[in-house]
């Protein structure tokens, strides 16, 4: 019955960067990246999941990346850095989920010619910013990804 989010935030693990918002898959504050090897496609598949709904037992055979795995204040991941520098966080509660949605989408579409990151944010609620600065961050990431 345990969810991935409960496990991540439990006293023994205590990775608290992943937030409990609504607990029903509606706000995206708990998004993490799951990766597994798909034998049919013969490649790694990356996806964003709401960890508040994801049963822990189904994580078997997957790699989990949380916000802590992406970077920290000593060494911010470019997504974290861009979101911060674009003023994409106010209260900051939705921020880790936003970062992980962007990260999952970028991992899942490495070969796509033109990324449209805006569309991967529609499952993440933010009550403070009005989204504009977050979308700005997505645009900057898009252009740097598309260039490289």
């Amino acid at each position: 019955q345990q969810t991935l989010l409960h496990y991540l935030r439990s006293p023994d693990v205590r990775l608290t960067g992943t937030k409990l918002g609504c607990g029903e898959g509606g706000c995206g504050a708990c998004v993490v990246t799951l990766t597994h090897y798909d034998p049919k496609q013969k490649k790694l598949v990356h996806r964003a999941v709401n960890s508040c709904l994801f049963p822990l037992c189904l994580v078997d055979g997957h790699a989990v990346v949380t916000i802590e795995g992406l970077g920290n204040t000593k060494n911010l991941h470019p997504i974290q850095k861009t979101l911060a520098s674009c003023h994409g966080s106010q209260c900051g509660f939705c921020t880790p989920g936003m970062v992980m949605s962007l990260y999952s989408y970028m991992k899942a579409h490495p070969e796509q010619e033109k990324l449209d990151l805006e569309q991967c944010l529609d499952g993440n609620l933010c009550r403070c910013t009005g989204y504009r600065p977050i979308i700005d961050a997505a645009r900057i990431l898009e252009s740097s990804m598309n260039q490289s």
Partner: protein, 880 residues
């Protein structure tokens, strides 16, 4: 599948109509072999409506919508079919361009934005402090604090009935669950403590005793070894209800009928001679309008972590906007001296008014449990309990009468309003005043009478919610303006402009002179920036060429009375002499608004030290005594001013040493040298400061909510262009232009963020967020499935937010003006534009009369207002 121009095969499946997807078999059979004619369409619609029976969805039957949105859902069945039919028809022949607007989707391209502001170079406007902590996930919220092995977790048990006797509460089954430790009730409140958590004494109990006075009232609190167990066990507690002791009231109308009035919650503002003006009036219009509730929807639900200390002392980490108030309430419940309770908070995951008083029950319950068991108790409310037990914005019903001449110049306005307070006062009386005080908005009403009454219902108490009273008032006033415009066949903008305050009559109905009334300049610049005249033409042209999509445009200005609730806002600035670093505590709460950043700027500028040397401490009642509240948008400037006052004291303390070092060395000393020299001499390098607005000494002594609540007014305006889908009631914001007078901003980057975020929250207030209150008072929107705050695809596709340049406000703190709430209500331009789009389709189809629409303008309201009839579903338009 088509064969020539005829339908060869067709499958029609509808979702949402029923519990499961259903096939419209009869309609399918009818359509076989048919071609796309008007006759076929009408017959198919007839058959379709007959065969698809709408399955009622219980959550949509509300006190405001007694039909459960069934009419809307029926219309959608037809609309969707019509869209599909036209799409098929367009394959065999070309549709008239006018009709193809039924087929294409609402315009939604990539979002873009522009921000225009001037950074005062001398103000050290840095990006928000701590954004890297937030982006990395390292930022700690209350629920993220370290927990120990003995930490327990709490969850409320709440009532689903109201106005009934409470016979008993049976927690036997819950207590048997593995991991459940205790069930806390009113009996666990210490003998010296009070079962009292409301703003006014004895208006709200922490746990119900003998009777349940409102829906969602807490009756007990489960304590368990994990939050999951606690939440689950709470659902297993059985509340035994007794007889109904009075008729429960859930609507303003019922409250009026039953004379359920909140004592002391009435406000009257009057100017001129209203009766006389109505007698002389050329034209008079009457009507009524209502605005709905809104949940604050902070992302971080109510959270508290109570940690007992030695000797009856308790530290409670609470996500909150009012540490001192929280401290007093918890001390009262525990029955211990107030200085034995310490409230600490690093940051809250959003507040929006919902953590000014509504955090108290959760924090108090955790404290009672923690003290009883002498262990730390962490309590994070789940969304369902949070949104059922606690509420947000006050609903308003307003009946108005307005007199005007044929030019649209208004000579008299009379507005009678009823405000739904919920079961207790909380801040309702204050809201009534702020609401009434802002009903004039930016218009000069020579004769006005505003009478507002707060009514009591059996719903959870309504509380402070961003743009307290102002969002409701603006909606009412602008509805009146639109009614006048409709009567005269003019645009609302014409009526707005002709009634604006002018230089000579810049005095509100309650007698406040509006200094620095910048609306005329804002109007002028906003019109130029948004290319207003061109936009009007574009909208007209679009509407002439499209039958099923309509555009609307609106320009609206707003005045927001800023109230100095946060007066005082005590600050402590401490300089560490060894390395020149500075720790600052202030009385505000960091809820995302950037208050810490602004305070750091002001301290750095005043002390003359590098801003990197400054760290803002957690909000802490041991340090900042008497910190009233973070609310009303003025706390940032209050905290800045308090910290500035403290910093000036330090500058004065250090001045003799500075002078001495200057004389000795022939140059000004480095910051570090100066402070280490002061330390060596044992100077006091800590100082406190408070904020008291000019002239406030006198008014503070008057009774609260006396006249002139507002200290000054914020002014702004916005333009929005929207597109609606007449068939479905959906809308998209094509563009919004916002211009706000923030004086000389302390940090324009943060202010822009407040304006954008506020604007989008306002889109929720006016158009998206509907609190579903069933006729029996049940809240059916206590989750993200039914409750819809704006998401990233709901924002203006082009979003230009600008701060007025070079507009010093000498009276303000650092010449700035507050922005967070004033900017929010500017989103009315979206609602106004949607109403204009509705008017456009109604007019085109010959529908008479002006419709007054209640807020929020959700898709069912928009679609319903378009009032489609059978004759509107056409396949080809015949000219002439």
């Amino acid at each position: 599948l088509l064969e020539g121009e005829k339908i060869k095969e067709i499958t029609l499946v509808y979702g949402v109509v029923s519990r499961h997807p259903v096939r419209a078999s009869k309609t399918e059979a009818f359509l076989l072999g048919k071609s796309f004619t008007q006759d076929v369409l009408l017959q198919a619609l007839e058959i379709l409506s007959g065969e698809l029976v709408i399955h009622p969805e219980k959550q949509y039957f509300t006190t405001d919508k007694l039909d459960g949105k069934e009419l809307f859902r029926k219309e959608l069945v037809r609309s969707f079919f019509y869209k599909f039919f036209l799409k098929m028809a367009s394959v065999v022949s070309s549709l008239s361009p006018n009709l193809s607007s039924a087929v294409f989707d609402l315009k939604r391209g990539p979002s873009s934005g522009k921000q225009t502001f001037k950074i005062p170079p001398e103000r050290l406007a840095i990006p928000k402090i701590g954004s890297d902590l937030q982006a990395s996930g390292e930022a700690k919220f209350t629920a993220d604090l370290p927990i120990s092995n003995n930490t327990l977790f709490g969850a409320f048990v709440i009532s689903n009935q109201a106005a009934v006797k409470l016979l008993s509460v049976n927690a036997e089954e819950a207590l048997k669950i593995d991991g459940v430790v205790d069930f806390i009730t009113a009996n666990d409140i210490p003998p010296n403590g009070a079962n009292d958590v409301g703003v006014a004494p004895s208006e709200e109990t922490l746990f119900a005793v003998d009777k349940i006075d409102h829906k969602g009232a807490p009756v007990g609190y489960i304590l368990a070894k994990s939050q999951t167990i606690a939440n689950y066990a709470a659902t297993k507690v059985n509340i035994i209800y007794g007889a109904q002791y009075e008729t429960p009231i859930y609507t303003i109308e019922d409250a009026i009928k039953n004379d359920s009035i909140l004592l002391g919650g009435d406000t009257t503002i009057e100017c001129g001679d209203v009766e006389e003006a109505f007698k002389k009036a050329e034209i008079v219009v009457e009507g009524q309008v209502r605005t709905g509730s809104q949940n604050p929807f902070y992302m971080e639900k109510q959270s508290a972590y109570a940690i007992p200390q030695e000797g009856n002392h308790i530290v409670v980490h609470v996500a909150n906007q009012s540490p001192d108030y929280t401290r007093q309430k918890i001390a009262g419940v525990l029955g211990i001296p107030g200085h034995y309770v310490t409230i600490v908070n690093r940051r809250a995951g959003g507040g929006f008014g919902g953590k000014i008083t509504r955090q108290v029950p959760n924090a108090a319950a955790a404290s009672v449990a923690a003290m009883k068991h002498n262990v730390p108790v962490l309590s994070v409310m789940d969304i369902k309990t949070d949104m059922t037990m606690l509420a947000g914005r006050h609903e308003v019903l307003a009946k108005y009468k307005v007199a005007f001449n044929k030019n649209g110049k208004i000579s008299a306005v009379s507005i009678d309003s009823w405000v739904n307070a919920g079961f207790s006062n909380d801040f309702s009386a204050g809201l009534g005043y702020e609401y009434t005080e802002s009903l004039d908005n930016i218009y000069y009403f020579e004769n006005a009478r505003f009478v507002t009454v707060c009514v009591k219902t059996h719903l959870p108490t309504r509380t402070a919610t961003r743009s307290f009273g102002h969002s409701q008032a603006l909606y009412v006033t602008e509805t009146i303006i639109e009614s006048v415009a409709a009567k005269l066949g003019k645009t609302p903008e014409e009526i707005r402009e002709i009634n604006l305050y002018g230089a000579r009559n810049c005095v509100t109905p309650f007698g406040q002179f509006l200094d620095n009334f910048s609306i005329p300049r804002i109007y002028k610049e906003l019109k130029a920036e948004s290319k207003w005249e061109d936009k009007i033409k574009e909208v007209l042209e679009f509407n002439n060429n499209n039958k099923w999509k309509k555009r609307g445009i609106c320009l609206v200005g707003a005045r927001y009375g800023l109230s100095p609730f946060p007066s005082g806002c005590p600050s402590l600035v401490s300089i560490h002499g060894d390395d020149g670093n500075v720790t600052v505590f202030h009385g505000g709460s960091e809820i995302g608004q950037g208050i810490n950043t602004k305070v750091a700027q002001v301290v750095a500028l005043t002390l003359g030290c590098p801003i990197e040397n400054i760290r803002i401490g957690d909000s802490n009642t041991d340090v900042s005594a008497n910190a009233v509240v973070t609310g009303g948008s003025m706390t940032s400037e209050a905290a800045c001013e308090a910290a500035r006052v403290a910093s000036i004291k330090l500058v004065e303390i250090m001045l003799p040493v500075k002078t001495e070092l200057f004389q000795r060395q022939g140059k000004l000393p480095e910051w570090k040298t100066l402070v280490s020299e002061c330390k060596a001499r044992h100077y006091n390098l800590a100082a406190t400061g408070t904020y008291l607005p000019e002239g406030r000494e006198k008014t503070l002594l008057r009774k609260p909510w006396a006249k002139h609540v507002s200290e000054y007014s914020g002014f702004g305006a916005s333009v929005s262009v929207v597109e609606i889908d007449v068939l479905t009631g959906e809308f998209s914001i094509l563009g919004s232009w916002v211009l706000y007078d923030a004086g000389i901003p302390i940090n324009p980057i943060i202010d822009i963020g407040q304006a954008e975020g506020g604007f989008v929250m306002g889109v929720g207030t006016f158009l998206r967020e509907e609190v579903l209150i069933a006729p029996d008072g049940t809240i059916n929107s206590a989750d993200t499935w039914e409750y819809k705050p704006p998401c990233s695809l709901d924002i203006p596709q082009y979003f230009h937010v600008a701060l007025l340049k070079d507009c010093s406000f000498p009276k303000g703190v650092c010449e700035n003006k507050a922005i967070a709430e004033p900017a929010m209500i500017l989103s009315y331009s979206v609602a106004g534009a949607v109403k204009q789009a509705i008017n456009a389709t109604r007019k085109e189809r010959g529908l008479e009369g002006h419709l007054v629409l209640n807020a929020p303008l959700t898709p069912d309201v928009i679609q319903g207002a378009c009032a489609l009839s059978k004759n509107d579903y056409v396949v080809f338009v015949t000219e002439g």
